[in-house]
Structures are given as C-alpha cells and as structure tokens.
Symmetry: D2
Subunit: 467 residues, 4 copies
C-alpha cells in the first residue's frame, strides 16, 4: 500500500465469507464513500457462486457516481490466495446453515428453555460455538501462514469465542471483533434526551460511555452528554417507561433490524444491578437466568419477541431477491451508510485519524476483575497500526459475577471444542444460566440430541463418539 | 510465653465462644495430651454461665491423670479482657440460635429448595452469613485493638466468609480457618485401600493430597499413597460403589458425626468433573445446581439425608445432658483425641515442628485462577510464626467455574452484609446455584421472609429497611 | 458548577503554590483564552505576599481585552480554606529554596558526580524528594479531608514521587501529574519532518506517539505522522546529526527554556536501546550511569550543559522584576498561550471534549512489565470525570531494566521518607545509577552532608538522628 | 520403574555431563547409601572417555560393602539414547573449558573489575551464560523429544539462566535447579548457636529458614531454631565478629570447598539491608556494586579471596589424579555422604517421603514482587510427582531492588543469547552492578574482547558478527 496526501491506495482486503447475503453490501458502500483509502477486495466463500455475485455487486457500487473511492473486487479460489499479502482480513461467515440454527434455537424448547436469538450463549450459542471454533481454527492457521501481520476484523457470532479461537491458535494474530449492539444503546440514550429533555438529533457518537463486558452482554458504568451525567436521567427514564417499555422510531436499516424491542429488560437490569446494560434486550435476556425467557409469553410481557429460525429462512429469501435486483440493476445500491464502523477502524489503523470505540479483544487488564486473556468488550484507542485498550476499570458487584460465569463457560467451551472433550462440553453446556434449573440427565439428553443435529459439521473427534 | 527444652509455657489462648457445648471439650483434652505447651485458656461467651461451666470442665480435664499438660481455665468478662495479650485466639461461635437456623434450612423448602446442612452456601448459608459477618466485624476490630499479633483460628461457619470478614476489617490479622472435612475424604481413601487392596489401617495423614477449593467444596487434584497414584484406584472404587454407595465403619467421635453419607455424590462428581471432591456429600451437594437436592427423596437416592434443625435441637439437649455429667463427674472426659488438628497447628506456629495441612486463608496465588485475596482452602506449610500457602496450581475446567461462582457470591455477600445493601444482597442470594431455576419475584419474597426471620440479629441498617 | 451550552461556570480551582513566580502567569492567560469555563482561582502559598501579587496579576489578565473568560482570583488563608469545595486542585510548589537546591545539585560534585538538573533522580532528586514527600503528605491529608472528590493536578518535581505520595496517603485521590517534556520530543520530530522531508509547521499534536516510562525518562515505542512510521526517518536523522547534534530554532517561551540541548544523548540512546527517548537530554542523562555526566566537559561534548543553581537564582531575580512590571502595568500579559495542556485537561474532565495525552498516574496495567501502582507516564484518555490509561504495552529489553531500577528506587525513597528510615534511605540513595561506581563509605558521607544541608526542612524523625 | 514396600526399582537416570571429575562421585555414593531406590545411571558426556572412567568408578562404588543400593552404570552414545525413557535427568556440565573461564574471570581485571568466582553474574557470569544457553537449548529440545515427562535436575552454573533456558525452550519441562549455598549459611547459624549459646552439633536441617532470592543471592527473611527467632542472636553475632570475621572449623569435603571465607560480607549485608544473606561471601560480593571487589586487597580485607582460574586448573589435575586412584583401587570411595540433597529430592518425587527445601524454579507467585516466570530460589514442598513452591512473600526494600536488577539482566541475557543480539547483549552486560562505574566505550571494548575469547563456543550468529 502507498500513502499519499492523507490517502492510502493499493490496500488488499481479504473478505472471508465474501458471499455474504447482505452485510457485505453495506460494507461495500461504506468504503465507496470513504475518500481516504482504495484498493482491492478479495472475496472468498465456500459458496463460490455467491462470492461471484458479490463481486458483480461490488463492481456496480464502485461504478456508481456516488462512489468517491473505486475499489476492485476479485474472487479468490482459496483461503490461501485470498490471504496472501492481505493488509486486512474481514471474517463474516454463517457457520453451517439455518437448519443447524433451527436445532440450536428450537431443540431446547422441549425442556422449556426458550431463546430469543440463540447465537451467543445458552444451549444454542454453545452448539453454534462447537461447530464454529474448528472453522476459526482453520482460518487462524491460514492467517498465521499467509498473512501474519494483517489486521483481522471478525463479525461472526459467537463473537467472543470466534476471536478467542483466533488468539488461542495464533497468539500473535492482530484480530478484533466488531459489533454494533453498543451503538443501539447509545441511540437509546440519544432518544431519551429527545424524549425527556427535548434535545433532538444527538448523534450517538456524542453519547460518551464507558463500556465493560463481553459481547452482547456489555454495560455502561458511566454515560454522559456534554459534560452532564446521564445516569440520573436514565433512572427517571426507566421509571417512566418501566411498565410500558419505550419505543422510538423504527430504524429501517436492514443490518440493524431490531425486531420489536421495548427495552424493558434493560430497564429492569438497571434497577436490579445499577448500570446500563448495553445490548438489545433479546441478547441480554439470554445471559441471565430464565427470568425473561420462561416462555414466549414471558418474553412478550417483557416487550421483546423470540426470533424463530423460520423467519430467518424467510428473510434470507428476501435478501436473495434483493441480491437479484442489485445484480440486474432493478435496485440501486443504498448509499446512506450502514452505520457500521468497520471502514473507520480500517482508516484509524492506517493512521488516517485516531478513534476511540468499543471492540472485542483479549483482556490485558482493561477489566481487571475478569481473567487476563479473556475476550472482553471495552473502549479502545485505534491508531496507526495499533489497537490499545482503554482501562475500563473493575465491573461492579453481581455484574462481574454474571459476566465471569460466561467468561469461564467460554474458556471451557473453547477447550472442549478444540479437544472434542464431551464431558467438559456437557458440563459447560449445563453451566449456562439458562439451564440453571435443568436436571443433569435431562440436560445430557438434550446435549446429545443437539450434537447429533449438527454432527456432519463437527470434527471427526465428535463423530467417532456419536457413531 | 517462654521456651524451654522444646516446650512452651505461659501461653495465653482466648477462646471466643468458650461456652461451646461440645467442640471445646475435644480441644481441652487435645491440649491436655500435648506435652509441648501449657498456659491459660480464657473462655469468653455471651452466655457467661456456659463459659463458667466449661471452665469447670476444663479444670477437671487438667486434673485427670491422663493429662500431661495442665492448662489453667478462666472466664473473661469481655471480649477485650479475653484478648488483651493473647498469643492465640480461637473463634467458635454459634451465630444466633437454632431458631434462626430453622428458618435458614427450612424456609426455602416452600420453593422446592432443600438443603442438607444450610450453613455454608445456598439460601441458608447466605442468611447465616448476613448475621454472622457483623459479629466477626466486631471481633476483628477487637483483635486489631487488643491482640493484633495473635494467631486467630476460626472454626465458625460459614468458614470462608468468617475468615474473609476478619481480613477485610483488619487486613494485618493473622487468621486462618480450620475444618476437618478434608480429613474425612482422606479417611475414605484409606478405607478404599483396605477395601480394594487389603492395605489396612493406613492413617489419613499418609494419604498425600493436593487440596484446591473453598471450604466445604474442596477437591483433590492428586492423591497418592507411598508413591502410588490413587486416581486409577479411585476410578475403580467409584465404579464398584457408584450404585450402592460405600459405607465404612461408623466413626463414633461426636465431632465427626457424618450422619448417613454413602459418598455417591462424591463418586458422581468424580465422573462428571474428573477430580476427587473432598468434603461430606451433604456439603458438596449444596454447592451444585439442584441435581442432588430436588427433594428429600432425591437426597436419599444419592445416599445422604437432610439434617433437620429439629434434630439439632434434640442433639443439643443430649449435649447439655452430657455437660451435666461431665460437671458432676458421672462421665469421665474422653481422652481418645478429637482427631482435630488445632493444637498441632498451635504447636507448629510455636516452632515445635513443621506441618503441612489444609487451611483456609487468603489467596496469594496458591490457586492462580481464583481471585487474589479470596479465602481458599489449600495445603500450607505451618512453621514458627508463619503459615505459608503451598502452590496448589490452577483448578481444572468446570471445577474452577463452579468454585469461582461461589467465590464471587461470597465477595458480594460480604460487601452486602457490611453495607446493609439490600439490592446487592438479593441479587447475590439469587445467584446461588441452588436457586438457579427460581424466578426473581419468588426469590425476592423468600429473601424478605428469611430476613424478617432473623431481623433481631441484624444491624440497624437492615432493620430500618424492614420496618 | 453549572453547565450551560457547552460552557461550565462557577468552577472552583485551588492553586497550591499560588505565589508562583512564572508558571502561574501562563496558566492564568491560558484559562483567560479558553471560552469553555469560568470561575474562581483560590491562590494559596506559604508566601502570602506572593499570592497577593499573583491575585493582582490574575485580575489584570482577566481584565485584558483578549480574555474571553473572566476568572475571579482570591487569596486563601489556609490550605483548608483553599480546598474546601474545590473542583480542581493545582499543586505547583518549590520545595524549600534554591539554597537547598544548591546542595542537591552541587554537593555531589565532590565525588565527581555532576547533575544537569538535579530535581528528579540522582543524589539531588533523592534529597529533594526527602523534603518534598512530607509536604505532599500534608497536602494529601488536607485534600482527603476537604476536597476528596476534586481532581488534583500536580506540576511539582520530583513528579513521580509527588504523585506517588498523594496516592499512598489518600488512595482514593484523583490525582495526576502533568509535564511538557514529551511535547518537546514531539516538536523535535516535527522539526525532523521539516529538516529531512520539507514538511513544515507540523503541530506537535499531529505527531502520534506511544508513550512509555516514568516522568523525565519517557520513551516512544512508536511514532507516526499521517499514517507513516517515523522510526526509519528518525534513524536517518540520528545518523545525520549524531556527531554535530541538531539545533532547531530557539523556543523563547520562558516556560520551555530548554537551555542548550542538541539531542545527542537522545540520538545515542536510540542507537543503544532502539526506542526514542522522549525528554530533554539534561533529564535523560541523569537516569543513566555516569556516561554523559562524568564531568562538565563530557556534558558539553554531548551537547548540553549543566544548569548551575546560581543561574536559577539569577533567573529568579529576572522573574521577580517581570512580576513588578506586570503589576505596575509596564509589561502586558503574554497572550500567546503557554503551550501547556493543563486547561485542556480541565476541559476534558468537565466533559467539554475528549483528549488523549500523556500523564503521570498509577500503573493499572498500562505498562504490564512495571510494578502495579507505580507512577508511570503513558497516554490516557481524558473524558468527563475520568482519566483512563491507554494500554501502552510492555517496555523493551534494557529500557525496562533501566526504568524498573528507578521505579524501585522511588518506591524505597517514598517508604524511607515517610518513615524517616535512614538505612533504607541511604541504600536507596546509593542504588541510583549516577552513584553506581561510588564506594559505600564515600556515599554515606555525602548522604549525611546533604541531609544536614536541608535538615531544617525535614521532619523531626530526621532531626533527632542528626543531632 | 516399580514400587515395592517403600522401595522403587528399575529407575532410569540420565546423567548429562556424566564424565564429571568429582561431583558425580559424591552423587554415586549418595545413591549407593540410599536404600529407597535402585536402577540404572546412563552417563553421557562429550568426553566419552571420561564417562567410561566414571562408569568404572560407579561400578566400584556399587560393589562396595557399604552400598545398600546397587545401581547399574552405562555409557550412552548420544544425548538421545541417554534420555529415551529416562525417569530423571541430571545436568552437570562444564560449559567449555577453564581456558574460557580464564577469560571470564581475568579479562575484566584490565578495567579494575575483580571477580571472586565469575560464573554467575558480572562480566564472567554473563559470558559464561552466553555460551551455556545454546547448550541448554539443545538439551531442552532433546528432553522435549525424548523424555518430556522426566524430572530434570540441574547443577550447572549460571544456575538461574540454565533453568530459565530449559523452561523457555520447552515450557512443559519439569526442571529444577539445586544448589548447596543455602546449606552453608544454615551451617553458619548452627555454628553461631554453638559459639554464642553453647548449643552444639545442631544439624543444618533444624535451622528453619524462609528463603528468598535468586541462586547465589539468596536471603533469609526469617530464621529460627526450636521456636526461637535467630535474628536477635545473629545481630549480636554480627557485632561480635564484624571486624574479625568468623571462622568455624574447616569443612574438608571437597565438594564444599569454601576457600577462605570469614562471612564479613554477610555481616555487612545484614547491617545494610536487615536480612541474612545466604550464600558464600564470594558469591554475594559479585551481585553488589564494586564495594567488596575493588581490588584483591579489598576482598582480602573483607575476609575472602578471589579464586584464580589457575587454581582451578591445578585443582583439576588433583581431581584427575584422584580419579586414577579411584579407578585403580588405591583410593577407596568416600562413603561419608556428600551433604547434597539430590538423591533425597529424587526420593521425595518418587513418593518416598515429603521434603521442604530450597530450589530454583520459575516464579509462580512465591515471591510476589519479582516477575512471574523468573527463576527464583525459595523453599518448595517436594512430594510424589510434584514440586510445589511455598509462598515466601515479598522481598524487602533494597533487597528486592538489588535482586530485581539481576532478574531483568538475566531475562535480557537469555533473550540476547537465544537471538545473538549483540546490542541487547552489550547493554545488558553493562547493566551489571559490577560495571556500574565503567564507561560505555571501555565496556564495549571489554565485551568484544571477551566474546572473541570464546568465539569458537558460540553459535554462528555470533561468529558472523565477529569475522
């Protein structure tokens, strides 16, 4: 790559999961709108045809008059060829298919365990991790061998475990995980300012927050706007909307489809624990004991709904239809910006401007009362060739306790997945708060059923135990 | 105190809870049989009459022909006078009465939560901690002011939190907690050697173990006898007795009344987690999710029974009767030795001989994957004026996860108790594995009921919240 | 204080050492030029007359047409009245007088030990610390009692030990130390860009650096400008000017009077250790073995000179004359800005805009291979009511070794000063690299002579040992 | 190996440096006198003839009537064949020859730097490390590949760096370093008891000590005998013999040839630092600034002498002559016991009896204020298949500072040796206290001269820099 007058050219970006049916298009327009950098995006996907289609969409975007940067798009035959010499690697894959996710989400319902998302923790998140970790093991080895100095941005869930796998397999990797859930809560606080104080249109970036936690279970230990502490206002906000929930205008960007969420879980967590939980309620509820997810009705009472995988399958069809329209030109690319920060982080790492934002990286003391090395989410300073975590301080009381439980479960999940250790896997699966009231033998039967449902995606070490 | 020819005289021991109906008598005979030291025991108890009775029993023991050391027994008017100038302090109190314990143990049954002991963790252990911590706060302040250099031996439950309170209130205290549960599992391994290998009468001290954990939830990560690894044998032992349980001869020392315990929980934990759980099954079961304690029947199936507080009340009557007999001479003191190690630890700290044994002290890295400062139970080297923990290494997989959960609960319990913080207390109470399947509102009602049941024993900070 | 439209009014700033003959005037003009905040500065000084004179100068500055903020200046009778209710505390004092500093700097010359500054490390810095620490002990206690929530900014040397004392005496203090030495090296890199690349007038803030170290012995482990790594260029720069030294235009701001410094020490340290030492050469040389300070001639060969205390005394006269002119109006205040960042930090802490800059605070892991709690200098994020250190990473090879030696000396100096422990003080004094070749008995004689030279400023604990 | 009735047979011990001219003979008699174990010793040496000769001596010892265990002795052709299947590995080699040691010890005299031993720290120790570390790198790799589970006992100097290399190259190694220097100071305390108190013939094992430090620079932070604190007595002892030194009867065991040492350095260090330095004065003096080693005369004044390498060469001849006598039977093996603990440690690791003694292993928190992972010397508990460090606590004041300096030098020496990094090596060499007053350019010339003196023993990475 070359630097010239605040602009970098000749960048090489490897995009693993480049056949993405949606997320990629937002990224492509984001970088087309960013004058600071230009280069080549190498799309790699096990579904090569999907990658080819995205290449064509990418070229279309590059050719649009709105584009101020003109990126080249290519399709790579192999992980190796995508990675060789890459400056950046983006990982955004769907581990297996929605059929496996169907088991993740719905199989536990037999035990009365309901999940709103099922991709992070709980029985669904656990099973998804078990099949995703070996994929990331392969990716990490390839990065070690072909692009050891590249910056690696992960968007895949389960976020914490994907990033943890990368570091475990290749400790010198320069990887980080990005997620927009925190942004949503910043927007909620902006909406609160409008609702209670009449201060309109505050951009979320102006809501100053100290982020602590792990992905999808992040908390603000402080929040301010223009020097003013937002906690007293948030307490008032919770009181006003505790019963009814709060609904701001729908955000119709498909990437941020929040489904119905009224923040009642968030308000309740504030009352119970004192800090502002900072992710969508559907995610937050899954990290807790089964207080908000006893049944679909309970979820509805708390103002959110469970996302059935059938909906995801339907939604995928809509996205494929949109892809067809983007390809044949009947729909124009959406140049309003995705709201994601990925391209800004790239810019900051290239030295085009410092940036402080939340990110998932190994704990180097930024949260001193979580284990060293665990993948945590806090603010970090992005600078030329460096991501430096900002000291976020110890987590409070039971927020630490709740989080640490998941951190240790993730540690044990990773170990079990890498070694195909069924007993460790099973006891970890059962240590999830969602299963805190489930009997061991019931849990074991569920575990085996869910393993079998995804057995074809698991390594030989699992297959031979389940023959 | 004076040293002369391997013997220390002039020792001053303050005994807080000196009116003890049982434990004290064992200690008195133990020290009467130990030729290495002699001095004065100052009995202090809020029930002064009980202390006076124990003074008389102590004098009787000193006067027995079996006694090789002749201790003086006095009764102190106040904590301060007992402590002033003491070399050692023993704390062995009953926090409140069996009426409060009745609530601890039986109130949660309304929610289907059964407890076998109810004095360590779970709703009962939590409530006991809430009333005990302020008592230990007072004791710690008195030690700081009147006997800051004394070695302080605690026998009171909840052990970990009692010791934690002492260190939190007076960080320079030299306190440690002693418990015989580990001995019981050493004896089980000795019985196993007899049963499977025909090696009879191995003293428990010859069963070499690496101890890791917290009080009543301790584990052996290794165990050996004369150079031989006992793990393979234990696996065989578990297999043989998994279904039936194992019963060795009854140990009839009243101090070690194990009630019926067939070690089936211990065997099951070995299968599930890979290390040897090293406490009585009644204790172990309480640290786990409600797998072994779903109902009194479940407990019986697992080969142990729940200790009703009515039994304790009855047992107390028997001990009071025994006290009367000891006082009027119709029963002679029992000079067979209690099996406790307290007096040996005193000796080691006086420099009369090194000793490696398990003890509860703050974590200084002996278990590197539990938080620094938490009260943990591992082996330590007892030497003249020093207790030096022996590096026990990191805990394995989910054993760490299970233990860390309790460690953080204990941290939060201590904080809540010292500050009378109801919200922190309630969320901590609900974070116990025994309540992992309980709904928040049900839990909250139980919490309030149990607080009220012991309100007269709680500090003003609680009373004013419950008026 | 009140927030209104991005502006804070009603601030209360306590200025300890408010009789300052110079530094205060720069601060007064800086805040007069900052539209974001306004309030009262309470000047406190043991020389009350000097504080009164500065009050008058402050009022003059507030009245100037250039002033956009109009601060009130008052003189406080006591530390307590200055502190009560303060939002910020500034500490900028001269510990004792230039007579004591004369001993600090020149007494060691008898042993061939020459010092260029003598206020940080070495025999002079040590002795200065010994008399300053008790002063900061008193200040810390007063802050604890009268302004426990205030942000405390220290400018006094020895910086690290002054800040360390504040935290040792009052662990909950919110103190930090500011120093402009790092700015000087950023400016040097900007001058390098002009000299080698023809890129003119780059503001120092655009030179991106990762700062590691302790005050006056700070290092850049990376440096960049607009995405470009500056290390290769710096290597070339060192090669070109290694022999001659590099002289940019004189900076004539009195606060940044660098005396003659040609950066040869800095270039040499780069060759020897691989990173960019980031303080003036006069400071850097004092942290090293006596390689650059064998004699005044050696220093001159390395392109810097020793600052005699006689010069400081002369300079003080010039500053007093300037004060007289500022008071009688024959000289106008200098409104060009001091180049210091103090007022910007105040603004950031008030929530008026985030800021990343270097600061001296306790190590919370920002430099993982220096001891936790040591006062280190790294970048930190300044935000509303928070200073969050940015992870700077481990220090390299011998840079760590050299720094750790001073860190441990500072720890022992603090302990010795607080306890008046002569033997600890003496062995610490002798552990300084400047005295690495000095014999113990020679060192002891020097130590005693220097103690006596400042005995009237030391606590009773010292006096009674030297009677 | 097999266990039978408290006895282990079939042990396989690989002895690297098995041609040893002295140390091996003591070990051979020690194990011949130990009834607990028996097996095979495989002697491996680059001087095969020497190994053959020791095989013959070993067989003679086994055949002696005093031998209660009858070990077999074999000579191995290669490191690999010696290691394959070994239960224990002993490493006791001479790195290079006394010619290289001649440079180590005497070359620095040109700069007025005198060394009493020259094998641990200082310029000599540094250079010895540089050539030894690659040898240990090779040994570590062979152990990893051929005997990964073996316990590895190192006796080679520089001890700390040899052990550090083993762990750096093969982190799962089970290695430890043994040294008898601490025993010497225990014996000194026993002699003190005889001298001052008339308590005769106290065995050193009964002198209870808490050991802290690094090899050859170990300290007792406490010492007691039968419950009595020895520190007050040691203070009196120091006072009495401070000027004259203390000489007990000569120990004539050749392995413990102390040369003339009167403990004056030890007494002086006690006065200066407050704890009991616990190694021979010749070693201790080398860790300090050049206070005790300014000249041969200074050393003599402090009551010890410098060991010239010419003496070692002479002594070697004497030992070769003794070897000849042992071989031809004109001298009988010495069955009085070497006083070393190696065989006892083997026994403890085999489960034949617990043992607490000092040992060199990685810091796992046993000294919390030295870096994690550094090779430190403290007490440890030796048990079946485990060495568990005993918490020794933080080091005091400047003892920590002095020690930490060497610890960091060792870290940098290891790194420089493994990477052939001349600049890191040179700056580390110059950071030794012995060179604290030496000018950089003088030091650099000395460094180059000493490198050249041993260049043939260094890896190619060095050779190509010095062609």
């Amino acid at each position: 790559m070359q630097y010239k007058q605040d602009r970098v050219t000749g960048l090489r970006v490897a995009y693993i999961g480049g056949g993405s049916r949606g997320w990629a298009w937002g990224f492509m327009t984001d970088i087309a709108l960013d004058a600071g950098m230009e280069g080549e995006v190498r799309l790699y996907d096990i579904d090569r045809d999907a990658a080819e289609k995205n290449r064509a969409i990418g070229e279309r975007i590059s050719a649009c008059p709105q584009a101020v940067a003109h990126w080249r798009y290519t399709v790579s035959d192999s992980l190796q060829s995508a990675l060789a010499g890459a400056d950046f690697v983006i990982i955004s894959i769907l581990p297996a298919t929605f059929d496996e996710m169907e088991s993740d989400v719905h199989a536990p319902e037999a035990l009365g365990v309901y999940q709103s998302v099922g991709d992070t923790v709980g029985p669904g998140g656990f099973m998804r991790a078990l099949r995703t970790i070996p994929m990331f093991e392969e990716i990490a080895l390839a990065i070690r061998d072909y692009a050891p100095k590249a910056w690696v941005i992960n968007y895949t869930n389960p976020m914490s475990l994907c990033v943890a796998t990368l570091y475990r397999v290749f400790p010198d990797i320069r990887a980080f995980g990005c997620c927009h859930e925190v942004f949503g809560t910043q927007k909620l606080l902006a909406a609160m300012l409008a609702d209670l104080e009449g201060i309109k249109n505050v951009p979320r970036q102006k809501i100053n927050v100290n982020v602590q936690g792990i992905n999808h279970f992040t908390w603000f230990s402080s929040a301010s706007y223009e020097g003013g502490d937002l906690f007293p206002l948030y307490r008032e906000f919770c009181d006003r909307y505790y019963e009814t929930g709060f609904l701001k205008d729908k955000d119709d960007n498909w990437m941020n489809n929040f489904f119905a969420c009224s923040h009642r879980v968030k308000f309740d967590l504030f009352r119970k624990y004192g800090n502002i939980a900072a992710a969508g309620d559907r995610h937050l509820a899954e990290f807790m004991p089964p207080w908000y997810l006893k049944s679909p009705e309970t979820a509805r009472e708390w103002g959110f709904s469970l996302t059935p995988v059938s909906w995801r399958k339907q939604d995928l069809k809509a996205r494929l239809a949109r892809r067809a329209r983007l390809l044949d030109g009947t729909e124009a690319p959406d140049f309003r910006g995705s709201g994601e920060e990925g391209h800004l982080m790239l810019g900051a790492l290239l030295g085009l401007g410092d940036m402080v934002t939340n990110v998932n990286i190994p704990n180097r003391g930024q949260i001193p009362n979580l284990p060293e090395g665990a993948i945590v989410e806090t603010n970090a300073l992005f600078r030329r060739d460096a991501i430096q975590p900002v000291y976020a301080g110890p987590m409070d009381g039971n927020i630490q306790a709740l989080t640490a439980r998941h951190v240790l479960n993730q540690k044990n999940t990773l170990q079990a997945a890498l070694t195909c250790d069924r007993q460790l896997a099973l006891t970890t699966f059962l240590n999830d708060p969602q299963l805190g009231g489930v009997d061991y033998s019931d849990g074991e039967r569920l575990f085996d059923r869910m393993i079998r449902a995804q057995l074809s995606w698991l390594p030989e070490g699992w297959k031979k135990q389940y023959r």
